[in-house]
């Protein structure tokens, strides 16, 4: 192939990004929760989205997941347009997430929760399931193995048979991560995973996020805990009133006077 090589676009991101969001707009009544947000996430990074309360971070996640229908913009994921797809189809493209307000299946055990996370990796028909054909039995075993693998990665294997509702809060949040990972996503969205965790749990979370990144999963992280964010992120996006205030590496963001003025207030401790 000797095709003409066009000069690279001005963007500094090499190759094509895993996720490219352009001009995303979402309003609720009069509130512009997202006022034309654009950014790109390269594969293999931990990409953080920060901003004050009500900046539109969760709204951005919900729009990415097809839970809201943004009025304009585009969401390209591995060159596919996600805008307009129903949530379960977006999940099938390789996106998984956790929730700011826990959305565990409290009517199931930890293992079953994570087995639901594997839903897209295998298919069982109604008839085969009702008759419990031999292949369904084998499938169940495989689902169980996958789920246990995800639980082990999150250091939850000893809790497998416990009912999800009986766990302490910190572990419930970890089960959500395990459940999302069980889907083997290419992009994992974490919405405030450190909220409500104590210092030890937050340190463990930092290790877990690094482990997940090292396993090849790209992470989009919404988080208020600055030491954690600055410690694990490769790049950051700062949102304020639904608009992008700044974008760059942790060092660039910490040096950006607009960010310091508008959001970090000049008195933020970045150290871990």
């Amino acid at each position: 192939m000797t095709a003409m090589i066009a000069p690279l676009p001005l963007s500094s991101t090499p190759a094509s990004p895993l996720l490219a969001v352009t001009g995303l707009e979402q309003s609720f009544g009069g509130v512009m929760a997202l006022a034309g947000v654009s950014f790109q996430v390269a594969e293999g990074l931990v990409y953080a989205v920060i901003g004050p309360n009500g900046a539109g971070k969760t709204t951005l996640f919900n729009a990415l997941c097809g839970f809201y229908q943004p009025s304009s913009g585009s969401i390209r994921f591995t060159e596919r347009e996600l805008l307009g797809l129903p949530t379960h189809r977006i999940a099938a493209c390789g996106i998984a997430r956790t929730f700011q307000n826990l959305q565990l299946f409290f009517n199931m055990t930890v293992l079953e929760n994570v087995m639901v996370g594997c839903h897209l990796r295998t298919k069982t028909s109604l008839f085969a399931a009702a008759l419990r054909l031999p292949r369904v039995r084998r499938q169940e075993q495989r689902l169980r193995d996958w789920a246990i693998e995800a639980l082990e990665l999150c250091e939850l294997a000893d809790r497998a048979t416990q009912s999800a509702g009986t766990l302490p809060y910190g572990l419930m949040k970890r089960v959500e991560i395990a459940r999302a990972l069980a889907a083997k996503p290419r992009l994992l969205l974490l919405d405030e995973p450190a909220a409500g965790l104590n210092d030890t749990e937050t340190l463990a979370l930092r290790d877990l996020i690094t482990r997940i990144r090292d396993s090849g999963v790209t992470i989009l992280l919404v988080e208020h805990h600055m030491p954690l964010v600055m410690g694990v992120s490769d790049r950051l996006l700062v949102l304020d009133y639904g608009s992008v205030l700044a974008e760059g590496t942790p060092a660039e963001i910490q040096a950006d006077p607009r960010v310091v003025a508008a959001y970090l207030g000049g008195a933020v401790n970045y150290a871990v």
């Binding site: 129903p86 929730f99 009517n107 169940e140």
Partner: protein, 322 residues
């Protein structure tokens, strides 16, 4: 073992007529309880597991019954074929109605299914040339299973018991499978379920269709067993009864639904004298369960037995200290 409870239940069901031969109560009330179990176990998939209410489920019970009645009396279809046709019809109708109905939530879903049940009942009463109207349809031939004509109370007990055990087994398998977990996920958090790639509309539809087919199965057996059907057996009261069974037994437990169905059948037998107050008693029962035993009879009684057991053990321990 996964199916230990099922085997115990099957053994009890099989032994009852052996232990009490010629016992009217066991055999006749047993068949009625068996049909109720089929209905309740199916409805529990929808209400207990998928978390979707249906206040019109008697419609599918009636559909199965009338399909068998009409096809075998007016068209001389073999009874087994009429039964299968009833199942298919119920499945198709449930499938067509599921999407528009199950898009609704909470009170709206309750009202829509209530309306569905009422319309079905009106059709049974009004479509006289097909259904025989309020007088019903008589002369339905008995079930003929590939040459074996089901005859007499004991044989009916066997057939209905086998059908019931089949439904319980299918339901236990379903719940403990990927399909069943998807159902429970929809109940637990619809948003999270979607995010796991579950097509929630499709999943709810599956639950609705399966519960409708089970109800039609019970209806068809009922029609052939009674040799007569009339709209009274499928009215609003019956729909409420079915919900009561599911709630009474304990939501989201197949054996809970089994217990609820049996308990309510026995209660009805004990209360025949109070027939006029049946609705009232059901209502009171529903309220009492919700207030005192929100997890239902099955869990409630298991826990009570547990407590009793530990109290006994403790008092025994204390006595041993004396």
């Amino acid at each position: 073992m996964r199916l230990a409870g099922f085997y115990i239940f099957a053994a009890v069901v099989a032994l009852l007529p052996v232990l009490f031969p010629d016992n009217y109560f066991v055999v006749v009330v047993g068949t009625s309880a068996g049909l109720h179990v089929i209905l309740a176990v199916g409805l529990n998939l929808l209400i207990g597991y998928a978390g979707q209410i249906s206040l019109g489920h008697a419609a599918f019970f009636g559909l199965g019954a009338y399909a068998s009645a009409i096809l075998s009396t007016r068209f001389d279809w073999p009874s087994l074929l009429a039964l299968v046709a009833g199942l298919i019809a119920a499945g198709l109708i449930a499938w067509v109605f599921a999407r528009p109905i199950l898009r609704l939530r909470g009170h709206y879903l309750a009202m829509a299914t209530l309306g569905f049940g009422i319309i079905a009942h009106v059709i049974m009463v009004q479509a006289t040339q097909w259904t025989g109207g309020p007088d019903g349809l008589a002369g339905i031939p008995p079930l003929n299973l590939l040459g074996w004509q089901v005859d007499g109370d004991l044989q009916w007990y066997g057939v209905i018991a086998a059908a019931m055990l089949l439904v319980v087994w299918l339901s236990l398998n379903l719940v403990d499978s990927q399909v069943g977990r998807a159902l429970r996920a929809v109940h637990g958090s619809e948003f999270a379920a979607r995010m796991m790639g579950i097509d929630t509309a499709r999943t709810k539809t599956q639950a609705f269709v399966v519960s409708a087919v089970f109800a039609a199965f019970a209806g068809s057996l009922f029609a052939h067993q009674q040799a007569f059907v009339s709209p009274d057996s499928f009215n609003l009261t019956v729909s409420v009864e079915l919900v009561t069974m599911v709630v009474l037994g304990g939501l989201a437990s197949t054996f809970g639904a089994v217990c609820g169905a049996i308990a309510l059948t026995l209660l009805q037998q004990g209360l025949v004298v109070f027939e006029d107050y049946e609705m009232l008693i059901h209502g009171a029962l529903l309220m009492a369960v919700m207030i005192f035993m929100p997890q239902g009879l099955f869990v409630g009684l298991t826990q009570a037995a547990h407590r009793l057991g530990s109290t006994l053990a403790r008092s025994k321990f204390r006595r041993s200290l004396d």
